[in-house]
């Protein structure tokens, strides 16, 4: 892996985004609009908004970045650019880290937009620091990117890639503790939720909602999310094949 090639790859991905301003607008606007909708739905029920708002503030960017990354990497696989790149000195890590860097930067801007609007315009309130909410939102978006990179290897068409959202993300949404607290799930489902990354992302925001200080549970949760990001990126690099049928 070389820094030059990784940065060049990130730069190239960002340039592709720049040629597609509508996608950029959607990436930035969709989570912000959804949070506004949530605030409106829970109008006059500040307690509920403060309970459901923070976890969803991370989950919306996760879903958006998962879809964007799945389609972007699938396009590289099907257009032959990935095959060509892998015949050059570019390493698999350069490729994966380039994407992570480009979409990571996008996620920072997305996280600032959605959090900024939520805390100012929509009146969201947490006991902890709003900046830590931004950190969790960005970590979630990165998780979406990393999962998109690794899972897109399983898809051979764009139809399949898009279906991975309901197949891999929605079960996590059901099990992450938003609908039923994870401690009240049937034992098998509780165990399942323990091995899914979104559970930790939601737990982390829950810590921020209720606690004014940074708790060790928060650090543990965000650490687990970070580990899932690293693991998914490694898996993403491992699924790139120089030789194919």
């Amino acid at each position: 892996m070389t820094v030059r090639r990784t940065v060049a790859t990130a730069h190239r991905v960002l340039r592709q985004l720049r040629h597609d301003p509508r996608t950029v607008a959607l990436i930035l606007a969709v989570p912000a609009v959804l949070m506004g909708l949530l605030a409106w739905i829970l109008h006059g029920r500040a307690g509920d908004f403060n309970q459901f708002g923070p976890p969803l503030l991370g989950i919306f960017p996760l879903i958006v970045m998962f879809l964007v990354t799945s389609v972007a990497t699938l396009r590289e696989r099907t257009s032959g650019t990935l095959e060509r790149l892998l015949t050059t000195p570019l390493s698999k890590a350069d490729f994966v880290m380039g994407y992570a860097l480009a979409f990571g930067l996008t996620a920072v801007i997305q996280g600032l937009v959605v959090s900024g609007l939520s805390f100012s315009l929509y009146g969201l309130h947490v006991s902890g620091s709003p900046w830590l909410v931004v950190v969790v939102a960005v970590a979630d978006a990165l998780l979406g990117t990393a999962l998109g990179l690794s899972l897109s290897a399983l898809a051979s068409t764009e139809f399949q890639a898009v279906q991975f959202m309901p197949a891999f993300i929605l079960p996590q949404l059901l099990l992450c503790g938003i609908i039923v607290p994870r401690s009240q799930l049937p034992p098998a489902l509780h165990w399942l939720s323990d091995v899914l990354p979104m559970s930790y992302a939601v737990d982390a925001t829950r810590q921020l909602s209720t606690s004014a200080t940074v708790t060790s549970e928060f650090l543990l949760d965000i650490g687990v999310v970070a580990m899932f990001v690293v693991a998914a990126l490694l898996l993403g690099a491992a699924t790139l094949r120089r030789r194919t049928q």
């Binding site: 340039r15 592709q16 040629h19 257009s79 032959g80 892998l86 050059t88 030789r243 049928q245």
Partner: protein
Amino acid sequence: MEPAIRVEHLQVIRGGRTVVGDVSFTVPSGSLVGLLGPSGCGKTTLMRSLVGTQIVAGGSVELFGQPAGSPALRSQVGYVTQEPSVYSDLTVSENLRYFATVLAVPPTAAGRVIGEVGLGRHTDTVVGRLSGGEQARVSLATALLGSPRLLVLDEPTVGVDPLLRRDLWILFAALASSGTTLIVSSHVMEEAERCQRLLLMRDGQILADDSPEALLASTGSTDFESAFIALIESPPT
């Protein structure tokens, strides 16, 4: 001198079918070799085996004495896939600057190769808005960036107008005379006359491995289309 390409008993199975069967040949350094044969005969599969992206069932492929696909070869081999493999949502120069960094060549190389493939007017055009033939030339330009020792070009002249096709073949000949080895595939038999050596392929087999003149002489033909038919009807024993 060590040959640029040495293929021995190469066999490739795709989709349960043998698409390249027991193929052997060598290509000396600095030659311009045409790989000709009808669509579906296995040209792309053979080229993928050369650059190390194809899973092979048997035999060996060596480039400059190293096994195909080995890391040391990655900066020495330029591969142009049959379908243009460049980013259609980037401009010509953005594509070339990215590949220049990947290949660790100075960005000025981008200007040189754009001229070589005759795309000077389209430097800042988004690739997706170019015609098929123009996109193929962008793809070719990226492979020329690193001045590789071996160029593997899969149907680079398809869809290119006759004048430009002639210019491309002049470019290929110039590259060969400066020491680059080129293997160029085509399903258009007339392109054979542009090559120094021909590999004629059919059904995953090499039918002939000869110079264009020798091929015409041995088959008693005046054009390559009839030479190819003659080879199929009465294969040399």
